[in-house]
Amino acid sequence: MNIWELVIITIVKILIAITTLLLSVAYMVYFERKISAWAQNRLGPNRVGYKGLLQPFADVFKLLLKEDIVPQAANKTLHTLAPFISLFVAFATYAVVPIGPSINIFGKEIKLVAADVNIGILYVLALTSLGVYGVTFAGWSSGSKYSLLGGIRSSAQMISYEVSMGFSIAGVLLLSESLRPIDIVNAQYGWMWNAILQPIGFITFVVSAFAETNRLPFDLPEAEPELVGGYHTEYSSFKFAGFFLAEYANMIIASCLIVTLYLGGWQIPYIDKLGLNATVTTILQVGAFLFKTAFMLFVFIWVRWSIPRFRYDQLMNIGWKVMFPLSLVNIIWVALLIMIFKI
């Protein structure tokens, strides 16, 4: 494989990744609104296009056509920079998520991941930590008390939950003996999904993922009733759309990661026993990955309408006094598993 082929293939992969991500973000908003409506016995958006399918575009155009307001007290550079940091982090993480095994096209073996990095998981952790900057900058640079409180809450919350998140992942790494996402998925062959082997780790990771993405019940940084929107109070138009986009992209990434790390990635248990040809198997597996991700996204929305927001002290208590010890317990559990079964 010469360098040009590699470049072209990578660019195509990136384009496909970004387009699907953007589209899925758009429809994520639509489904969030729909499912929210259903949970409340309403109909949800149904006016723009067939069954309201064009609603996301209407929303985007509305947002883009609005006046871009920068408060007088704001630090203009950081104020502008913040949404871009958020967006960049959200999209960059997507690079290391494998959506399926390798596929053969025109005799070339192509991996279904934008960048097959051997320290992919570290990359993910590094980038999510960067994500805090977007929110904190936005909060601080707006020069508004609501934004500032939102920003501070957000950074405290994200730093706290990153700890348990990191320790949860440690359990996964112990089992897969690799930081490469593809290896992690391969290690979960058959029913050996991490969610089944280490349920405690699964729960702590999912909860931390909710906290990292600022989703209910952990949406204190943007708590509308008390902070009027939190860190993005002073944002409008395109910049606000940036945050909006980043939030939903983050949700999708989080779902992808949960699936990759705990739900066996693209694995369909015992599919190789069916004796299908390689391409069909791969397509089915990609489908499985997308299905699992979609289900996780549904869970995100589902949880939103089931569990109310935490109080700030409760949030910190759970983070440090429950999630952190639990993730440590999980590591010991995994270590015991390895010791006993010599996996």
Partner: protein
């Protein structure tokens, strides 16, 4: 913050709340498949009951004269100061009538105090809830828009007689 003592101490399983969370999630899920209550507005219209407080209107009696005597009580009681009345003398037995009666619908909060205070049963809340205006001037309803024949208001007047 001093935590309030619970009446009963929860045991470990209750304290991790997992069961309760799952119960809650199942409830939410169930609701997703329940029948929807949304009324698709412009096609389907809400038919308000007699107790509904739509925009306030002036009653035009059977003989084609407004009941209002411009006493100004509605204007005084209106918490939003939406009503302005100017009285003048009339030849009818009621002696005075409203020369000008204006309700600023941008100010009106549909509380129904005007109706409650009216000694002549002359101002009542109608069922009309479709109020659209594109500028401030249009939002000030004068006598031309406020006067409604009593036939259309029977429902409400009967309701008032029963419950006021």
């Amino acid at each position: 913050m001093v935590a309030k003592k619970r009446k009963k101490n929860l045991n470990f399983f209750e304290r991790i709340y997992i069961v309760e969370i799952i119960k809650g999630m199942i409830l939410t899920l169930k609701n997703m498949f329940r029948p929807k209550f949304t009324m698709e507005y412009p096609e389907v219209k809400f038919e308000p009951p007699a107790s509904y407080r739509g925009r306030p209107v002036l009653v035009l009696d059977e003989n084609g004269v407004e009941r209002c005597v411009a006493c100004g009580l509605c204007s005084r009681v209106c918490p939003a100061l939406a009503i302005e009345v100017q009285a003048a003398e009339t030849e009818y037995e009621k002696e005075r009538y409203p020369e000008k009666f204006e309700i600023n619908m941008l100010r009106c909060i549909f509380c129904g105090f005007c109706e409650e205070v009216c000694p002549e049963e002359a101002i009542v809340m109608s069922k009309d809830y479709e109020l659209v205006y594109t500028n401030r001037e249009d939002a000030i309803y004068g006598k031309d828009k406020l006067l409604v024949p009593i036939e259309q208001l029977r429902d409400r007047i009967e309701f008032l007689r029963k419950f006021k």
